[in-house]
């Protein structure tokens, strides 16, 4: 069964672009609906979608963290898709319980993968998000190993896991697991949310992280 999404974005061109990317994905992702208002995600057929692609700043206003929180608390898997490239917004969305955070500059390369990961409760970290996690100095941040920070930052710098692997003399697989483990650590910290719990549970089930590491 293919993954289904609903797109909440006030720019029709963005919604159209997401439709095209989803349709040309392999296997394709089905877009159940698109709208300029968060209502689309709560009403059928949007309410049936596996993943919500959510523009954080509808009609250019302030970030609608409240809408995001209500969706997340209802158990919806939300991929925040935004113009905002600042670390604070990214970290706030993760804390609320967004399953993914993709900036619009990264959309073409990362949105489809982020939707797929969200649908399966798996972590997905784009370079922009990795930069925010790797330089996070807030007091309540989870404790990261130095190697994890190195991997995050190199991923932020070069956007190529192959290059990161070569530079740090690791395998691409190891690079991936370092990045994913950080994302799980963040899901395990701060505010509780069903999506965060599902992500952590899935990571333990997949053997990505040990209960003792958390």
């Amino acid at each position: 069964m293919s993954i289904t999404v609903v797109v909440i974005d006030d720019h029709p061109a963005i919604a159209a672009g997401v439709r095209v990317w989803c349709a040309s994905a392999n296997p394709p992702i089905k877009v159940l609906g698109a709208g300029a208002n968060v209502r689309t995600a709560w009403l059928e057929p949007g309410s049936l979608a596996d993943v919500v692609v959510f523009d954080l700043q509808l009609s250019g206003g302030t970030p609608s963290y409240g809408d995001l929180r209500r969706l997340v608390d209802d158990g919806r898997k939300v991929v925040v898709y935004t113009m905002r490239d600042d670390p604070d917004t990214a970290l706030t969305c993760l804390d609320i319980g967004a399953s993914g955070y993709v900036t619009k500059a990264e959309g073409e390369r990362h949105l489809v993968a982020a939707i797929r990961a969200a649908a399966h409760d798996q972590p997905y970290t784009t370079p922009a998000l990795a930069g925010a996690l790797g330089t996070d100095t807030r007091a309540q941040r989870p404790k990261l190993a130095p190697r994890e920070v190195d991997v995050l930052i190199e991923w932020f710098h070069c956007e190529s896991k192959e290059m990161v692997a070569r530079k740090l003399s690791l395998s691409v697989r190891t690079v991936n697991s370092y990045i994913d483990r950080v994302r799980v650590k963040y899901a395990n910290a701060g505010r509780g949310a069903p999506t965060k719990a599902a992500l952590v549970a899935r990571a333990i089930q997949d053997g990505l992280i040990d209960v003792g590491d958390l």
């Binding site: 490239d85 670390p87 500059a105 370079p127 922009a128 930069g131 925010a132 790797g134 330089t135 100095t137 930052i153 190199e154 932020f156 710098h157 070069c158 956007e159 190529s160 192959e162 290059m163 070569r166 530079k167």
Partner: protein, 382 residues
């Protein structure tokens, strides 16, 4: 921005009249201590013997003892205040009243025939106390106090019926002798205050001039330094183009020109006063290459400490060569921590450009070529 390490004094002029005060206060303190010494010397050296000799004359005698002790205590009090650099405030006028009161009582206790002469011991010391009371106010308040004292004494003489010619002449002579010294000291204090104010003003102007000179010197050195930075790379290139030794059609020459242009752009940006100089300098170079139709994305993460100009140059120098050789697009990223900063560029360069680096302690550069792209990362660690 000019990196003048905090000039010795602010260049802006201080408000008139505030700066010279410390010097004047310093001089006045010395003078006040000297007058206290004179007063005590007059009290102990001149007045005390007179007082003791005529002790059996006074009616009653204890008034003179109390008056003498009070004068000595007031003089000592002034000494302590001068030592602690406390200037008399509004309380000086009640104190002046007290001093006059003591003087009137002491004068009243002298039998009429002895009012003019050695038995009237308190006449001279009171003048010196008046000098202490008005030292910081100039000569006019002092003269007022002395004239008041003279008038009071005259009145007491009149009451005692001592208004014959000889007594008044004696009184006038005594007054002229004593006032001469006291007014001279009061006037000296005024003169010294003027001189101190002038001296302080001159010193301030000289200091200002020295600061301006230091700033100018620093500016000049800064300009020379910039020229030196360009002289080793830009000047030979321009000379080569001028003499025809370098061919502008040569791709390498063109790239060198682009690199020098980026370097100069960064050099100009170095002088700007901006909150984030490192990103500002990178932005300056990015602007330049974007004009040639190259897309550059810039992402900045984390908090960085303030970096010295040398470190900023070392962090940006390798970026320039990569950016000017970029074909279509590049990604520039900056990541910061309190003790570490890394700057990176990934670009789709076809030809490997020769990386130029700036030697700087704590700065390391790594280069990688893969997937048809060049990745250069420069990291500074504290």
């Amino acid at each position: 921005m000019l990196d003048v390490a905090a000039p010795a004094r602010p260049v802006t002029a201080e408000p008139e009249g505030t700066a010279p005060e410390p010097t004047a206060a310093h001089i006045l303190r010395g003078l006040r201590l000297a007058v206290v010494a004179i007063t005590l010397a007059v009290l102990c050296g001149l007045s005390l013997p007179m007082l003791l000799v005529h002790m059996d004359l006074y009616r009653p005698a204890w008034v003179q003892s109390v008056a003498f002790t009070a004068f000595a205590l007031i003089a000592c009090g002034f000494g302590a205040l001068a030592w602690l650099e406390i200037t008399p405030g509004r309380w000086r006028w009640p104190l002046a009243g007290l001093v006059f009161g003591i003087s009137i009582a002491a004068t009243a206790a002298i039998p009429a025939p002895h009012l003019i002469g050695q038995a009237h011991w308190s006449f001279g010391p009171l003048g010196w106390l008046a000098v202490l009371l008005t030292l910081d106010l100039g000569v006019r308040p002092l003269a007022t106090l002395l004239v008041t004292h003279y008038a009071i004494t005259l009145a007491q003489l009149a009451i005692a019926g001592q208004t014959d010619r000889a007594t008044l002449v004696g009184m006038a002579v005594q007054t002229v002798i004593v006032w001469g010294f006291q007014l001279a000291v009061g006037h000296a204090a005024t003169l010294m205050r003027w001189i101190a104010v002038d001296a302080a003003r001159v010193a301030e102007q000289e200091e200002k001039l020295r600061t301006e000179e230091a700033v100018a010197e620093r500016l000049h050195a800064e300009q020379r330094l910039r020229y030196t930075a360009l002289a080793t790379t830009t000047a030979p290139l321009l000379a080569g183009l001028a003499t025809g030794a370098l061919n502008p059609e040569d791709e390498r020459v063109r790239r060198s020109c682009a690199l020098e242009a980026a370097r100069m752009r960064r050099l100009f940006a170095e002088g700007d006063d901006v909150p984030d100089p490192l990103v500002h300098q990178l932005q300056a170079c990015i602007d330049l290459v974007e004009r040639n139709g190259i897309t550059v994305s810039l992402a900045v993460r984390g908090e960085r400490p303030a970096l010295s100009k040398q470190v900023r140059r070392a962090l940006t120098e390798p970026m320039l060569a990569v950016l000017v050789a970029t074909v279509r697009s590049a990604r520039v990223t900056v990541a910061g921590w309190p003790d570490r900063v890394s700057v990176s560029v990934v670009a789709d360069n076809t030809a490997t450009a020769e990386l130029s680096t700036v030697e700087c302690p704590g700065v390391a550069t790594t280069t990688m070529e893969a997937e048809g792209r060049v990745w250069v990362e420069v990291t500074w660690r504290a």
